[in-house]
Subunit: 318 residues, 2 copies
DNA sequence: TTGTAAGCGTTATCAT
DNA sequence: ATGATAACGCTTACAA
């Protein structure tokens, strides 16, 4: 280290006191002669002293770094998570190391090891692979899961099935008799939808596999089947975007069809469709509150696992 | 440190060799008896040894961390930057600490100090305040600027004025006689536009101040003036979104008006408007190549400052 | 009230 | 070929 950075030893030498005295002043220890304290404070005030984190971490102090483990930066939703985690962590005094696993369990494992080597105080994870979460648990690094529920870990998520339920009920209440589902499968979004809309028919629906090139598949589906329903529930705004693009390209009129997206991103605003909104900010606030408590040892639920599901809300447009 | 992590000393004790021998094996030093090397390697293979970064950094080794200093996570463009920087940095063996200055010079300065304390190897900055960049330079931490040109720093950006030029020429070539500009001001986007479209009239244009609530201001402008031109150049897709929303709300027909956005995000896809695309991936690749060379000391242009401007391209829709 | 010294986990220098 | 040791910058127990 030391990119020409001032150290406590140097300050001590310059001021004719010992390095430990300087440390004590900086850490506000009692029992320092006022004259000495003032002299040291004045000096560091004028000379910008930067305590070295690496030395502190090595000694066993907290690193004040959180690892953010994320799965897919192609999806704006996860980038949005970075936004909130950075902001809220910063307010709590933490820096964040951001890592994208690209849905690869192997990469996720590598990231975890990297975070461990760096001595992060805690990890916020959108997990790919549950086994890796057990691995984190074994290391003892405080962990919270977001965006998913894992029964063995403190998890914070939005109830996706509730989202499906809301969509189904809203569309049925508006009098739609045929409502299709287009989106990821399997997914709790669909489960919630189907449970509340028993008349759902498989032939109306398109089930996307997010690991594959679902956009092409969707186009083929539309070409073969057209749109048979008067309303559709889409598993994401992103999905909605691509559906509407395909319809436009195929010159299929959809002016009388109602769509509901998911995530309430700017996309649904641009497409002017209703969308189910996940309370992301709240989810991240809750998860970081828990995480920091676990880090500082003020977490009281040691023996109980938190599985929190927030309710999404419907944002109606049009 | 040491969350029950294995150390070299422990390994040495367990295997009956000295800690420094373990270090040598791990760092592939020559002159180790094959038998010893194999024994140590076998052990760490079975027991997952994680060298501690803090200790290495303290000793003066590279931290393999880059700081990413960014200005505005409300704008999807900057989140997209996180995506690419994380990915490319990872491929080069670096982790990244992400920080958002929210366009505040004070916060930006704090972030820089934080990065310095953490011993980052280099910084990638979308700067708010040029003075802070000089501050980084003084610390000696390798630095590259992206998204902007600062003549005293290695900078990588897209030529925004070229973007304005492209927009102006495209719209003129299509026969538009009145072309308005709606967007941030001052901005090179506008400069390039105006220089190539001398008939531009101030009363057609709306100049937004990004620090203020420009969306409301825009709505007032539209209410008072309506749309006088047959085509508009918007300074961002985000701006385009809000303009179109306002038009919809005010029930102003814009079906015969042509729009060009900027950034070619999913928004312009959703709005189905043409957009000027910045070669972000290339910009970040170039900047990280330079940064890592500066870090490893293989950078040859020491005495010359790189001010690279890439050309944007127009993505035509409709 | 303050200085001395140990120790955190490494790497590198010096011995042997 | 390998062990002992110093050093990186810090906090803290122990001495004085």
């Amino acid at each position: 280290m030391n990119r020409n950075k001032l150290t406590m030893k140097q300050i001590g030498d310059l001021l004719g006191v010992s390095q430990s005295t300087v440390s004590r002043v900086i850490n506000n220890h009692p029992n320092i002669k006022k004259e000495v304290r003032d002299r040291v404070l004045k000096f560091i005030d004028e000379n910008e002293f930067l305590p070295d984190y690496s030395a502190q971490i090595l000694r066993g102090e907290k690193s004040k770094i959180l690892g953010l483990l994320t799965v897919d930066f192609k999806n704006q939703y996860y980038l949005e998570i970075v936004n909130y985690v950075e902001k809220i962590a910063r307010e709590k005094g933490y820096s964040i190391i951001v890592m994208n696993s690209e849905r690869s369990p192997i990469l996720e494992k590598k990231h975890i090891i990297e975070l461990q080597k760096r001595g992060v105080d805690g990890i916020v994870a959108c997990p790919v692979c549950e086994e890796n979460m057990y691995f984190i648990k074994k290391t003892g690094i405080p962990l919270v899961i977001i965006n998913e529920i894992l029964s063995d870990f403190d998890s914070f998520s939005t109830s996706l099935s509730k989202g499906g339920e809301i969509a189904a009920n809203f569309l049925m209440d508006k009098g739609h008799l045929s409502i299709g589902y287009i989106g990821e499968y399997p997914s709790l979004k669909f489960t919630g939808f189907k449970n509340n809309y028993p008349s759902s028919k498989d032939e109306w629906n398109f089930y996307a596999n997010l690991d594959s090139n679902f956009i092409e598949d969707l186009e083929i589906f539309i070409k073969n089947n057209g749109l048979k329903c008067s309303a559709y529930f889409l598993s994401s705004d992103f999905m909605a975007l691509h559906l509407l693009k395909i319809l436009k390209r195929l010159k299929i009129d959809y002016s009388n069809i109602e769509f509901i997206g998911f995530d309430n991103t700017l996309l649904s605003e641009a497409l002017n469709i209703s969308s189910i909104e996940q309370p992301m900010k709240k989810m991240i606030e809750l998860s970081l509150n828990t995480l920091t408590k676990k880090i500082t040892g003020t977490w009281k639920n040691e023996n109980k696992i938190l599985n929190i599901e927030l309710d999404p809300t419907l944002l109606i447009r049009n």
